[in-house]
């Protein structure tokens, strides 16, 4: 018996296809049952995320299992033959593919960590539904070890990859924990919302929103569970905040250097970080010359994001080296010879293996 992987991802299929193939979470147990009932598939784990739909499985005859599963996918998700091209990997290649996915090397945002949790969840679901046996258990447990090792021993997670994450990373380089940071958003556009959400997701304490159109400010403040202030009043709130995100459509500077200088004299050494994501810029560049004040504009954030992406791309080979080194010591456990007692498709756990190890959440 060997292992295989069949699926599509963000590199091979557009979102229009991926969304049609996506497994609704509540329906996965039913799908797992159906997949297990296919003649050639012995074990299965369904990994369905925004960027990939993959089925990992164990089978005696891989080619037959892949053909059967492809047919299952086409018929269940009502895609036309030829409309979707599934990739499939077998044996070592399938294991390597999962290890790279778990390490974030196959992700749209290289090195992202969300996929690690998604794989754990997919495996736990399959395991709790009796769809896994020794090969899948070994394969997924090993993928967790590798995913963790890659992230702790390389710099694949280092650096920001988007404007929002660059701004948040810089804020963390200044304040450390953002839990005590209060944020002011000037301008209620999409960029403001995205950046404010990123800051909130990393723990920012509270949000104040100010906008020329007060209704829009209130709308965004409600969405972000913050407070709206009138545009005439935002300067009065400056000494209450640690981070200012400005993204208005004003054709001139909204935040002036002398305003910030005045505020800083009252802040008793408290640092201020300003994020200017507007074009034309909202914040006078001279603000960055004030001591204990840091200013990032959109170009600087874009550059940091680009550097971060480049850095992560350079890390791919380093990560592959770590995986290769790990496997040279331990081998692919799921492919090791396993004395098989008997095989059953009855649903009883009578496969040749002990119950899988519990999923470790760390």
């Amino acid at each position: 018996m060997s292992i295989f992987c069949l699926g599509v991802n963000h590199k091979t299929a557009p979102v229009e296809i991926r969304e049609r193939l996506a497994f609704a979470e509540h329906s996965i147990p039913e799908h797992l049952k159906e997949i297990r009932e296919l003649v050639h598939v012995n074990e299965a784990v369904v990994l369905s995320t925004c960027n990939r739909v993959e089925i990992y499985g164990g089978a005696e005859a891989i080619a037959d299992a892949v053909a059967e599963l492809t047919e299952y996918m086409v018929s269940h998700f009502a895609v036309e033959p030829g409309e979707v091209e599934f990739y499939h990997h077998e044996s070592e290649a399938a294991a390597h593919h999962l290890f790279e996915v778990a390490s974030g090397l196959d992700s749209m945002v290289l090195g992202e960590t969300e996929i690690f949790g998604q794989i754990k969840k997919a495996y736990a679901l399959a395991q709790s539904n009796g769809a896994t046996a020794r090969r899948m258990n070994k394969l997924f447990q090993q993928s967790f070890s590798i995913g963790k090792l890659v992230r702790t021993s390389t710099r694949i997670q280092q650096g920001s990859t988007s404007v929002g994450s660059a701004a948040v990373d810089l804020a963390e380089r200044i304040f450390g924990d953002l839990k005590e940071c209060r944020v002011m958003v000037i301008g209620a556009g999409e960029m403001s919302r995205t950046t404010a959400q990123s800051l909130l997701s990393r723990g920012a304490h509270s949000i104040i929103v100010s906008n020329r159109n007060f209704d829009k400010a209130e709308e965004l403040a409600t969405e972000l569970k913050g407070k709206a202030v009138r545009f005439d009043d935002w300067e009065n709130c400056l000494d209450e905040v640690d981070i200012i995100v400005s993204s208005t459509s004003a054709p001139h500077a909204v935040v002036k250097k002398d305003t910030i200088e005045r505020v800083m004299s009252k802040r008793r050494g408290h640092t201020l970080y300003l994020i200017d994501i507007a074009v034309p810029r909202d914040i006078e560049a001279g603000v960055n010359d004030i001591e204990n004040v840091y200013l990032s504009n959109i170009d600087q954030l874009l550059q940091i994001a680009k550097d971060g992406q480049d850095r992560r791309h350079r890390q791919i080979e380093v990560c592959r080296g770590v995986i290769a080194e790990f496997l040279s010591e331990k081998g692919i456990e799921a492919l090791a010879e396993i004395p098989e007692r008997r095989k059953s498709k009855s649903g009883d756990d009578t496969l040749s293996d002990p119950p899988g190890n519990p999923v470790t959440h760390s």
Binding site: G159, E172, I174, G176, G269, T271, R314
Partner: protein
């Protein structure tokens, strides 16, 4: 007198610094805690050297400039090991090890040229030992505070210019550096105060120059703390001040 242990400690700290720099530039992360292991190894050999000197003199080994420098280095490493992690400043090793290395090299050169040899006391005075040990531990805290100040200046520069290399991502947030400076200053002040108070109980009072130098360092750091809590200067200015204060404190060692 054999300086073998001091030389080994010096090589260890140099190696630790080189390793830290290489690790910062490397694509792979170094093993966690490597800098701590290296610092502990260096500390062991520093301690062996100081013990030998202590046995030679029959008292705390601070009888000449070289020994004082090694003792200050030892205090720096102790402070780094004791507080660096707690203050989330493990990267301090990159900045601390070259200072320790430099102090050791000066001490080795000094001892190889003009080792004054054994200077046993007429009578062993525990208050003198207490005064010396506390004061030099305070210097360790002040030294580490200066190192945190230097790190602040580096990180401030990187944030202002948006230069985000691997050093940038390895440095602690600047707010932690400010907090660390204040804590280390406070710890140093406490230790120095104990040291100075102990001096009043010594059998033989220190010389006027010694008192003046110790007092000047105490007043300087007290003023620095006062300025921070009353005026809240910008962290950048404060960092420059703590670096300058440590340089001044080092100069006063000549008078002690």
């Amino acid at each position: 007198m054999n300086e073998q242990n001091l030389i080994i400690a010096t090589v260890i700290f140099l190696g630790g610094f080189i390793l830290a720099v290489v690790a910062l530039r490397s694509e792979k992360k170094p093993p966690a805690g490597l800098n701590i292991v290296i610092a502990i190894a260096g500390l062991v050999f520093q301690s062996l050297f100081l013990r030998e000197r202590g046995e030679l003199h029959g008292r705390c080994p601070i009888t000449n400039g070289a020994e004082v420098l090694v003792f200050v280095s030892w205090s720096l490493v102790i402070m780094y090991l004791a507080l660096g992690r707690a203050f989330r400043l493990s990267l301090l090793g990159v900045f601390t090890m070259p200072i320790v290395f430099l102090f050791h090299v000066i001490a080795i050169v000094y001892l190889s040229i003009a080792d004054p040899g054994a200077r046993p006391p007429d009578v062993l005075d525990p208050w003198l030992e207490m005064h010396a040990a506390m004061s030099l531990l305070a210097y360790g805290a002040f030294g580490l505070c200066g190192v945190a100040g230097a790190m602040y200046l580096v990180q401030d520069r990187q944030l202002k210019t948006h230069h985000t290399g691997s050093l940038f991502y390895s440095m602690p947030p600047i707010k932690y550096l400010i907090d660390a400076m204040i804590r280390l200053l406070s710890i140093g002040m406490l230790l120095l105060t104990i040291g100075i108070v102990a001096a009043f109980f010594m059998r033989e009072l220190p010389t006027a120059l010694h008192f003046a130098a110790s007092g000047a360092v105490w007043v300087l750091y007290a003023v620095l703390l006062g300025i921070y809590f009353v005026k809240r200067p910008s962290p950048k200015r404060f960092s420059v001040l703590v670096i300058g204060a440590f340089c001044f404190a080092l100069l006063t060692l000549g008078a002690l």
